[in-house]
């Protein structure tokens, strides 16, 4: 999900007291990362191996990679910042802003994605709609992936400069080189394996920070009491002050939270962002593909505590954080606690975890970029019908080009960080229309071939108009960027839907024979594969996992609602 705050501002005096021990821990990690790349190399024989791990990974691996691809450092630092600024409202990004969408992806959409054997999200649009929708979504996705990879790289450089004192260009080149090396060597398998490893290192970094932070402020009760006293009672609740018309720091009410964040934005991100969906498409069978986002949902429910509590602790320890009265920005919450609380050793683990998270955030974008660029753009519009080995070679080449391009965008970001933030917002508007087109295309047989392209165009245009004109020019008063994002998303969704329906009424539908397995209520041969041995165990039933996650997330709201 888009990170609410810009991670680019870190106080310069947060230099960590690292020593040789911490650097040894970091060096071991870099060696292992490269080793995974080299060891995965021999498994790459076909383009399917390189781009989708041969559709053969087990569900727990793809599930943890699914969560780790999202758990980039911009997410970790950004969500801690969000908590220091807005308090317990942060839980919305997890419990309503992620879980329902992940469950929907696993239970409802995955049979169509995986069963149709598409290799990417744009390829599904090609089958359901036409070349125009396919080419537009492929090109936009490719641009967005490179841009976001570059923003991750730039954020890494800022953080590493502040914490370790490396010059920015050193951090950018070193991280770029490692990501380039392991993806070029081992393709998606090595990206996914590194994400799984990174997931555990991140936990090992965040758990000590959370525990020590809580101890420092007198446990949860101490935390809760001091923040309620200083920031008001609503700061420690999820829904307090979100009535329509009432005022809260988030600038959003329950309706825009539920519809904008919970429905449109999060469904757009989790169900149609190929950097996420690709992890599920690499699973070994339909059952494993369905379970990928469902397995990811359970850690996602609890990870919020590991980013929110450090943010809240920082708000207690540095009461003026984020205001002009303090040198510390909201984004400094986790680095500040690392500096204050962690002795050498665990400090090295935490630094490693942060760097690993940055690299994984970048690698997820690069590995989805090379797939879309090769299978959707190059193999379909430029050099069609070559032998498979050609596309593997081209995939490696375009990975290198993609990494170099993101290094370029990282340097660009360092000189125009505001423009980059705008561009990122702009691309986030593209996820929403993409979701409209998917949802209508999947559930309404009549949606015509041409409606996909026009739905994408209309939704994107309206979301951008709302953000850049109605909000930025102040035509309607919306109190915060976050609130405006939610409204833009809803507007884009409605516009895309209206245009799709209108275009469908006046243009020809796709023949029913060509919709098998692409529209709800139809089936394809890939969807009727029998469950593999052991997949019929009760704890592997997708419906049970999915509904379990939804109920658990809803239950988590209870202690924070009254």
């Amino acid at each position: 999900m888009q990170t609410p705050t810009d991670p680019a501002y870190l106080a310069a005096e947060l230099r960590l007291p690292t020593n040789w021990l911490d650097y040894t821990i970091l060096a071991i990690y870099f060696v292992v990362v490269l080793g995974i790349g080299f060891a995965a190399r021999r498994s790459v024989k076909t383009s399917l191996d390189f781009f989708l791990s041969g559709r053969s990974l087990p569900a727990w691996v793809t599930g943890l990679a699914f969560i780790a691809a999202n758990l980039g450092a911009t997410e970790i630092l950004g969500m801690a910042a969000n908590s220091a600024q807005y308090g317990v409202y942060t839980t919305h990004w997890y419990w309503i802003g992620a879980i329902p969408a992940m469950v929907f992806l696993g239970l409802v959409m995955m049979p169509f994605y995986y069963g149709s054997k598409v290799r990417s999200v744009p390829e599904f649009l090609l089958l359901r709609f036409d070349r125009a929708a396919h080419l537009l979504s492929s090109i936009l996705f490719a641009c967005a992936a490179i841009l976001i990879a570059g923003v991750n790289l730039y954020a890494l450089a800022i953080v590493v400069e502040a914490l370790l004192g490396w010059p920015q260009w050193v951090a950018i080149v070193v991280a770029g080189f490692f990501v380039l090396a392991y993806i070029t060597l081992g393709g998606l398998s090595s990206a996914i394996y590194n994400e799984v490893l990174q997931f555990f290192v991140i936990l090992a970094a965040l758990i000590p920070i959370t525990v020590l932070g809580l101890k420092k402020v007198g446990g949860w009760d101490g935390l809760s009491d001091s923040l309620s006293a200083s920031h008001g009672d609503n700061f420690m609740t999820a829904w307090g002050g979100t009535g329509i018309g009432s005022d809260n720091p988030l600038g959003a009410n329950w309706l825009t939270i539920v519809l904008g964040l919970g429905f449109v934005l999060s469904f757009g991100y989790w169900t149609t962002n190929f950097a996420e969906v690709q992890r599920a498409l690499s699973a070994k069978n339909l059952s494993a593909a369905q379970r990928t986002p469902l397995i990811a949902a359970f850690p996602k429910i609890f990870i919020v505590f590991l980013v929110m509590i450090p943010g809240l602790v920082a708000a207690v320890l540095v009461p003026k954080i984020g205001t002009s009265g303090s040198d510390l920005q909201y984004n400094d919450a986790i680095p500040y606690l690392m500096e204050q609380l962690l002795p050498n050793g665990v400090l090295g683990i935490a630094v490693t975890g942060l760097l690993a998270a940055f690299m994984a955030g970048m690698a997820a974008n690069v590995s989805s970029f090379n797939t879309v660029f090769t299978t959707d753009i190059w193999a379909k519009y430029v050099k069609t019908g070559r032998e498979d080995a050609y596309y593997v070679r081209f995939g490696r080449l375009i990975t290198a080009i993609g990494v170099l391009a993101s290094i370029g965008t990282a340097f660009l970001a360092s000189s125009f960080s505001n423009i980059m933030a705008y561009l990122q917002t702009l691309f986030s508007f593209f996820n929403v229309p993409m979701f409209v087109v998917f949802i209508i295309g999947m559930f309404w047989k009549r949606a015509s071939v041409k409606s996909g392209f026009w739905g994408l165009i209309a939704g994107t245009t309206v979301a951008m108009l709302n953000y850049f004109w109605i909000y930025k020019q102040g035509v309607i008063d919306i109190p915060s960027d976050q609130g405006a994002n939610f409204v833009s998303a809803i507007a884009g969704f409605v516009a895309g839907a209206v245009v799709m329906v209108a275009v469908s009424l006046f243009t020809a539908p796709k023949p029913t024979a060509e919709l098998q397995g692409l529209v709800y209520g139809t089936r394809s041969p890939g969807m009727s594969e029998p469950p593999a041995e052991g997949d019929d165990a009760w704890y592997r039933k997708p419906a049970l996992l999915g509904w379990g996650a939804v109920i658990l997330a809803a239950a988590c709201y209870i202690p924070f609602s009254f």
């Binding site: 292992v32 498994s43 024989k45 053969s56 394996y193 609380l341 050793g345 394809s524």
Partner: protein
């Protein structure tokens, strides 16, 4: 593959399904990719040992910094346990040996 119809390469549902199904039979990932449990287990055992030893030899200053908790010791033990868990899991449920029809080079598997 679609050698006879290069102009229709991957444009329809059947084309995509056939192309991917054919690639799946040639794919080498299932047969040749190592098991990630070995790497997670190995790395966390190494990290666990390093951090635990650091905790055992930590000065009072390091412990005072961490609110009086020997955080290196506890984190180290936790990481060691996680590493051992993955190695034990690998030992008890080893990777299934690849089916013989996939290890044979270039032979399309027939199920």
């Amino acid at each position: 593959m679609s050698a006879q119809h290069p102009e229709r390469h991957g444009w329809s549902e059947e084309e995509v399904a056939r192309e991917v199904a054919e690639l799946e039979t040639k794919s080498a990932t299932a047969a040749r990719l190592f098991d990630i449990r070995r790497i997670i287990g190995g790395l966390f055992v190494v990290y666990g040992v390093i951090v635990t030893i650091t905790g055992l030899t930590d000065s009072d200053a390091a412990i005072d910094k961490a609110e009086g908790i020997n955080i290196n010791l506890w984190t180290g033990l936790g990481m060691l346990l996680l590493g051992l868990f993955f190695l034990a899991w690998l030992k008890l449920r080893p990777t299934a040996p690849p089916p013989p029809d996939i290890t044979a080079e270039e032979e399309p598997a027939q199920h």
